[in-house]
């Protein structure tokens, strides 16, 4: 009943027979094993720290950690108050609310400092007395004269203007500094829940505001929230996609049920494994669930489709199952293996969540590979599967017509599609790498909408410079202070800088205060000892939660300058900013130059770091996959030739992206290797059929192409639709990096089929013309077809 068998066929037939005989045991064992591994998922946690995206060796992370070790390691909430009635901040009604939140924010979990216009330590002189007091000593109880004086004081203060108060006094911000023990992942959500409750409480008694909350704690929390949101929206969507595609493909509810079993068990195994090895889900890694569901359903559908076709051809169900396992064993093994290689290559990524993403996906694909050849046949043997007759002849004739068209116009198509591909590839340099953490989240996320509102009024991306004087106590050297002031002024003059915090401003204020508030003394002290003594005085007057160490390092050899960049800057303009900053130092103060740092600076280079680290990973994947192709096709030249239809779609997809979208975040680095592992499947199937026709059936190249189209064309189209649908689901992720990964992969998969159909035949014909047929060996080859030949 089975055709002439190879040893591999013998093995797969034996496997299928055993699985069918022991079907109850196989199903029980598979479910039990998956359920056991899935218990590990109980350990899974969401990371809520943006640092997760950087490896320990990442140069930008190291700079930032050095900086934080020297000054302060902290996170923040930024509460922004915008009166809805258009009133200004300096009214008793408004200040009462600001004062209340300022007081209560001290009680937020992990809060170590609260800064607002009301509690700003305002200093002034009264003769030889230096008075230090809250800028608004009794919020809500000021006289009209006091209110206008407070407003004037706040707007004249460089440390407040544009940082905590807008120049028109229309909007104000309260900054809450938090220091997390970092012992539990529940710390950030706990603090955020308290911050939101505080906002609700203030709005209850002071409804005249809109209050937005941003800051690094909200960013960190958003990473966790995006994952939870994705799980609750994308997974149901994906299950829907699976049900629709499976029912369309196999037209059987019971088979769809069996497919769901395979994909869900594969996902359980992968997520359980992730929990056992202690992976913390972050960014792209939870998307592994969608990827596994997609790739597992593709495996299962291949088995089901072959079985269906065999049954329609008159085989009994049991024989059809065995035939399907025999036919698909090698194909599923090769495609699973190449896909695993593509995902494992993500281990070279600089971003640990991408490594996790690759490994979780690889485990899931491995599970799907095993389950679709064991669990699935066993379930199919247990449940009734009916097949309705479909007019396959119509489908085949459509494909034959298409194949004829391709063969007839192969040169035009080869040249045309090559030119189109080249044109797309030529667009690649126009891709702009873009990682701005505000835009990592879509409009469904509060962090995004609140931050969008905040950047209307204040700067957003704090960029830090540690300016080193080179000697202990050197920060009070007048020459150093003068350069510090020059740098701060240069920064302030820039359009992309919203605010600059420099110790020079404090020096100028103290100099004025200690000279009886004479405005002529609002300048830097000219004597090093005087400046040092001012600093000592300043230190002695600091309120709770503040020390100078967050601005000046411990031996007073360096100070920190913070330039808050506008929220609408992009990665390209930040790079320009950094370049111009370097140029400023080179020209004006080469001895003071140091690296700029800060969260957004880290993200500015994240794509570049990941692309650099993935070059090796992707190269290894390409070589490994080419090798697998050579073995699978038993031909070195064909293996090499296969790399054209494998590699071109990825390059073309980048080009298409450049033309259609333009900017892309750091997921761009991961797409090449994982997409390669996936799109290779189409080429494997097409080329195996083509080679078999040439070798076994001794068909001419054009006929072999027709044969390939007729036998696997439909399966390839179907496969492509499933994969595109699965990755397209990712584009609905609230996290932009996942959405881009999904869309870019969808595009690549679509282009891969287009290139396989339009460009590959022309290439094969060209290759065949230049090659002596006698060079082809005529050994039998493994049959890796999806559906038995109808010819």
């Amino acid at each position: 009943m089975f055709r002439k068998t190879t040893p591999l066929d013998g093995f797969s037939i034996a496997l299928a027979k055993i699985v069918i005989r022991l079907r109850w045991f196989v199903v029980f064992a598979a479910v039990a094993a998956a359920a056991f591994i899935a218990t590990g998922a109980a350990n899974l946690e969401y990371s809520n720290n943006y640092r997760t995206f950087f490896s320990a060796d990442n140069p930008e992370l190291r700079n930032f950690e050095d900086f934080q070790a020297t000054y302060i390691k902290s996170d923040n909430f930024l509460f922004v108050f915008e009166p809805t009635d258009g009133s200004e901040i300096f009214t008793n009604e408004n200040l009462a609310a600001i004062g209340e939140l300022t007081e209560k924010a001290w009680l937020l979990p992990y809060a170590t400092r609260v800064d607002s216009v009301t509690n700003f330590q305002y200093t002034y002189a009264d003769g030889d007395e230096l008075i230090v007091e809250d800028l608004v000593p009794a919020p809500g109880e000021s006289s009209p004269e006091e209110l206008s004086q407070q407003k004037a004081n706040a707007l004249a203060e460089p440390l407040l203007r544009n940082q905590l108060i807008t120049p028109d006094a229309g909007v104000t911000a309260i900054n809450v500094v938090l220091t997390y023990p970092e012992e539990s992942l529940s710390e950030v959500p706990e603090a955020v829940a308290a911050a939101r409750a505080l906002r609700a409480e203030i709005l209850e008694s002071h409804p005249q505001f809109k209050i937005y909350i941003s800051g690094s704690s909200m960013l960190n929390n958003a990473f966790g929230e995006a994952i939870q949101k994705d799980f609750s929206t994308l997974i149901p969507l994906m299950i829907g996609v699976i049900i629709v595609t499976t029912i369309t493909a196999v037209r059987s509810v019971s088979a769809t049920f069996a497919t769901l079993g395979v994909v869900i068990l594969s996902t359980m195994v992968a997520m359980g494994w992730a929990g056992f090895v202690g992976i913390k889900l972050a960014g792209p890694s939870p998307s592994a669930t969608i990827v596994i569901l997609t790739l597992a359903v593709a495996d299962a559908i291949h088995v089901l489709m072959t079985m269906r076709v065999s049954m329609r051809a008159g085989m009994a169900k049991r024989d059809a199952i065995i035939e399907s396992v025999r036919v698909n064993f090698l194909a599923i093994s090769i495609t699973s293996l190449t896909t695993i290689v593509g995902f494992m290559a993500l281990n070279f990524s600089d971003a640990p969540p991408f490594r996790d993403f690759g490994n979780i996906s690889a485990v899931g694909i491995l599970a799907a590979w095993i389950l679709s050849l064991t669990f699935l046949p066993a379930v199919l043997a247990m449940i009734p599967v009916r097949v309705r007759t479909v007019d396959r002849e119509k489908q085949v004739s459509a494909l034959r017509g298409f194949a004829n068209f391709i063969v007839a116009h192969n040169r035009v198509l080869l040249i045309g599609s090559s030119l189109a591909t080249l044109a797309l590839i030529a667009m690649i340099p126009r891709i702009e790498l873009s990682d701005e953490f505000r835009k990592y989240f879509d409009q469904s996320m509060e962090f995004r909408t609140d931050s969008d509102a905040v950047i209307e009024h204040f700067g957003f991306y704090a960029t830090e410079f540690s300016i080193k004087s080179g000697e202990a106590g050197g920060v009070t050297d007048p020459e150093y202070l003068e350069k510090l002031e020059l740098f701060a002024n240069w920064l302030r003059a820039r359009d992309d800088v919203a605010h600059v915090y420099s110790i020079a401003d404090i020096m100028k204020r103290l100099n004025k205060n200690l000279n009886a508030d004479d405005p002529a003394f609002y300048r830097l002290p000219e004597d090093r000892e005087l400046a040092a003594q001012y600093l000592l005085l300043f230190e002695l007057s600091l309120p709770y939660g503040l020390d100078l160490n967050d601005r000046i390092n411990i031996d007073k050899s360096a100070t920190r300058v913070t330039a808050t960049l506008d929220g609408d800057v992009n990665t390209k303009s930040i790079r320009a900013f950094l370049k111009e900053t370097d140029a400023w130092f080179a020209a004006n103060a080469p001895e003071l130059q140091g690296p700029a740092t800060g969260p957004q600076i880290m993200f500015t280079f994240i794509a570049q770091r990941n692309v650099e680290s993935m070059i090796l990973g992707t190269s290894i994947a390409i070589v490994a996959i080419a090798f697998i192709m050579m073995v699978a096709l038993r031909s070195i030249p064909m293996g090499l030739l296969s790399m054209a239809p494998n590699g071109l779609p990825i390059l073309a997809a980048f080009g298409a992206w450049a033309a259609l979208v333009g900017t892309v975040g750091f997921s761009v680095a991961a797409v090449a290797s994982l997409a390669l592992g996936i799109v290779i499947d189409d080429t494997v199937h097409f080329l195996t059929k083509y080679m078999r026709a040439r070798r076994e059936k001794s068909l001419s190249a054009p006929d072999a192409i027709r044969y390939a189209f007729e036998t696997v064309g439909a399966a390839l189209i179907f496969n492509t639709v499933i994969l595109m649908a699965g990755f397209f689901v990712l584009t609905f992720s609230a996290f932009q990096i996942n959405a881009e990964l999904g869309l870019l992969t969808t595009l690549t998969i679509g282009l891969a089929l287009t290139i396989d159909f339009l460009l590959l035949p022309g290439l094969l014909l060209l290759f065949a013309r230049n090659k002596d047929r006698s060079n082809l060996n005529s050994e039998g080859e493994p049959d890796a077809q999806y559906a038995p030949s109808v010819s």
């Binding site: 009680l107 007395e129 230096l130 230090v132 009070t476 200690l514 709770y544 007073k556």
Partner: protein, 276 residues
């Protein structure tokens, strides 16, 4: 000199600011002593610790502070203290701090007259400016010269600035300790609570925990190297570790010198300009 009575009066005494002599008769402040048995026992334990070390008149000591940040970098601040003991518990001590290093601030001097519930009076002399400046600030609980000691920790050491609650006994390092919590009565404190461990042999404070406004542990002070000055004990090593930011400061005293014949005139504003 700054009356280095850290958090507690008892801790302060441990710092070596007071000394023996015939202990004057003290009158308890009923508002500070409270009316529950726990409050009164806490007050009494603190009062005993505090009062055993009084009557020293005045003291002088050199101090060296080593600051360590999260990166492990260190820096040193040196200064000297003079303290004039208060007349009774309704007022505070007078103190004078003169900075020796870093060199840029050498000769800078801070004179403080501690109050019980009101902000302290303070004057600062800046040698480079050659002027004395009075500093008026209610909110001085920030870091003292960049250390983990708050200014508040130095100037709020009066028994009656707090209410108390006795927690119980604890065995620590082979010593039986009384554990007492205390709560600031004055405004603008950085703390909601302090918890101290007082040994039952020489009645000295061995450890203090400081809790911030939201009730979380902020920092821990460990006092050691107690030395006996004719029956009065002084700790010579005080280590403050910040539980939230990972920084620490170690304060080390030289030998104390007591009863140097100082009087109120040595702690008046005018003395600041004549220090050198």
């Amino acid at each position: 000199m700054l009356n280095m009575r850290l958090p507690f009066r008892s801790a302060a005494s441990a710092l070596g600011i007071f000394v023996l002599a015939s202990a004057p008769a003290f009158a308890d402040d009923p508002a500070a002593r409270g009316d529950t048995p726990e409050a009164q026992k806490g007050y009494d334990v603190s009062a005993r610790s505090d009062r055993t070390d009084t009557g020293f008149g005045d003291s002088r000591v050199d101090a060296r502070m080593v600051l360590t940040n999260r990166a492990g970098q260190q820096t040193v601040r040196e200064f000297s203290f003079q303290t004039l003991e208060k007349e009774d518990e309704s007022v505070g001590d007078k103190s004078l701090v003169v900075f020796d290093s870093p060199r840029d601030v050498e000769g800078t001097a801070l004179l403080s007259h501690a109050k019980i519930l009101d902000p302290d009076d303070q004057w600062l002399y800046l040698p480079a400016l050659k002027r004395v400046k009075r500093i008026s600030s209610k909110n001085k609980s920030g870091a003292f010269v960049g250390s983990e000691f708050a200014f508040e920790d130095f100037t709020i050491s009066e028994l009656n600035k707090f209410t108390y609650s006795y927690v119980g006994e604890e065995d620590v390092d082979g010593m039986v300790m009384d554990v007492v919590e205390r709560f600031p009565r004055y405004e603008n404190s950085g703390y909601t609570k302090q918890k101290s461990w007082v040994d039952q042999e020489i009645f000295q404070v061995r450890k203090v925990e400081f809790y911030d406004r939201k009730g979380a542990l902020l920092k821990t002070l460990v006092l050691s190297d107690y030395r006996d000055y004719d029956g009065v004990w002084r700790a010579h090593s005080l280590k403050m570790v910040n539980a939230q930011n990972g920084k620490e400061t170690e304060l080390v005293y030289s030998e104390f010198s007591f009863r140097n014949g100082l009087d109120g005139n040595d702690f008046e504003q005018g003395v600041l300009t004549r220090l050198r």
